[in-house]
Symmetry: C2
Subunit: 333 residues, 2 copies
């Protein structure tokens, strides 16, 4: 019989995580108890917020050495002891980095596989999708004609933010890094313009592509990119603070932009945590899956085959070397 | 005949302005042209935002050496060439630091002297009043039971913010400096608690007086006080950024709080400029003057007699040595 392969955290590190910070383990596959589902993981999601959990700083709790690495996954139900599920169902659950999880049926979400590709339920139809949808439409309230700037624009959240803003009639500018990411942002995702933070001239570039200022800034990064955007806010601008990629791998809490920029622009700055917007999930899946079927939404996936390669893929993600939503293919669909 | 006494800016300085940065001048009193009012200044307002104008950094424009110092004043109309005004009317206008201004009638606001003391139209019934009223009620949307923290709590804006929040059923905590200011904030203005930023233990003090976090922070200061408040925001907190006393006298733009605090609290941070809220002025005067007549609002004035003493009074204001709204008494009511 197949074993349950797991990836555990081996040690906490202060810098960018490396593969040696994790270790593989193996255990017998557990049976499903009452109300539980015995599952086989198909796709595992790797997300930047996990960095904070490894160092104990994320609001959803710390992962300690010896613990199973946490993460959301799409799985196939092998055996169900919960009345709402049967064998063969596809579910999303926070079942962690393991091949054969047993999860509570109450904590699993059944996936309607007819509305979009399975893996997108970890991306544009999943948590990143909800983050983009709620963050942009609920918190930033974009109006047609607004200039919307998005950082990490080729990422799972950023690319969807920009494409939804385009659908809503905004002018959309992305910030990305590598040339191939920048090219995808404009050529495939259809952003109006893109600047590379690696150009060394971020401010001049932003002045060029946002000559009338920034009406909406959707920030996934923090740090100097947030500072540069804040300096260029237009009157009544809205800023959504959604991620802090620039400081996930540091132990200190670096300062932020001077408040004068917020005052000068009479801006509204809002902190975003996706868990607060669960009520929008059905609406998001309905709209985004429809846009996807209509060809209005493009997405990129960075697929890594095999659970044993998850640590290295996570390290690449934290180095910004992934191209698109980072997913580990644990078993065949 | 009396001359028009004026105070001009003599030189720009980088630090806290001193009296020698200004000079007195004298000119014949001008006649009112068509549409103008010849006035006699009664009360002149000294406001922190003038510091930014001296250094050319304020959004309402720079004051250069040789220029008349700007400022709002309450004046008596001596002669009117504008159909809406007659001699003896009391008006508010941005007529500057001079004893006998000639102002455009279209830029003057007639004062209804029946609703409150004349000088309060530079304070709680004037621009600081509108700042407090609009900033708190429109931007911070306080709910009964909220813990509202206000910096510069004995100042014109801060003291009114706190008292309106009390009227709306909030628990109100102030931050002030000198012991006499702190005492006034709780004993007279009726705040629930006060902490002194001079205690050297601001964070411990805030933990003590805001044990459940801060629901609304109304910031007039910036700097470390803003940082300390941001660290203690409760979920869904609202922060109004209204003033930057901590950096008015510096030439650099110091950094602000790390964005993680805004994300963690899912906070909404809004930049406030009073000019955007002129539409609330009549409502503000109506409500605040009624609260004043009902004895629900206390206010402090720091009066300096004589226009020639305005520079020294302004320097005291910028050192935080004023106690209450800084007003220069230019002539008798």
């Amino acid at each position: 019989m197949t074993e349950n392969t797991q990836v555990l955290l081996k040690r906490q590190s202060d810098g960018v995580p490396v593969a040696a910070d994790f270790e593989l383990a193996s255990a017998p596959i557990a049976a499903a108890g009452d109300g539980e589902l015995q599952c086989e993981t198909v796709y595992l999601s790797l997300d930047p917020y996990l960095r904070g959990r490894i160092s104990g700083r994320h609001l959803s709790g710390a992962i300690l050495p010896g613990d199973l690495m946490a993460g959301e996954a799409i799985s196939r139900v092998i055996a169900s002891e919960h009345p709402a599920f049967t064998a063969g169902d596809i579910v999303a659950a926070h079942s962690g980095w393991q091949s054969h999880p047993v999860v509570s049926g109450d904590a699993a979400r059944k996936i309607d596989t007819s509305v979009g590709p399975l893996s997108t339920f970890l991306g544009i139809l999943g948590m990143p999708g909800l983050t983009a949808y709620a963050g942009l439409l609920r918190l930033a309230e974009p109006k047609a004609g607004d200039t919307v700037l998005v950082s990490a624009a080729s990422g799972a959240v950023g690319s969807l933010v920009g494409q939804i803003a385009k659908i809503k009639g905004c002018r959309v500018v992305g910030i990305a890094g590598a040339a191939e990411k920048c090219a995808w942002v404009t050529n495939v995702a259809g952003f109006d313009d893109v600047v590379s933070y690696k150009s060394g001239e971020l401010r001049q570039e932003l002045d060029r592509v946002c000559p009338d200022g920034i009406d909406v800034y959707f920030d996934n990064v923090g740090g100097d990119m947030l500072q540069a955007a804040m300096e260029r806010l237009s009157l009544g601008a809205r800023v959504v603070l959604c991620g802090l990629m620039a400081q996930y791998n540091t132990t200190e809490m670096p300062p932020g932009p001077n408040p004068a920029f917020i005052i000068k622009a009479r801006a509204t700055v809002r902190g975003m945590v996706v868990y607060d917007h669960e009520d929008l999930r059905d609406e998001m899946v309905q709209h985004v899956s429809q846009w996807l079927r209509e060809g209005k939404i493009q997405y990129l996936e960075d697929r890594t085959p095999g659970l044993a390669n998850a640590p290295e893929a996570f390290s690449r993600l934290m180095h910004g070397q992934n191209v698109g939503k980072a997913i580990v293919v644990v078993s065949d669909e």
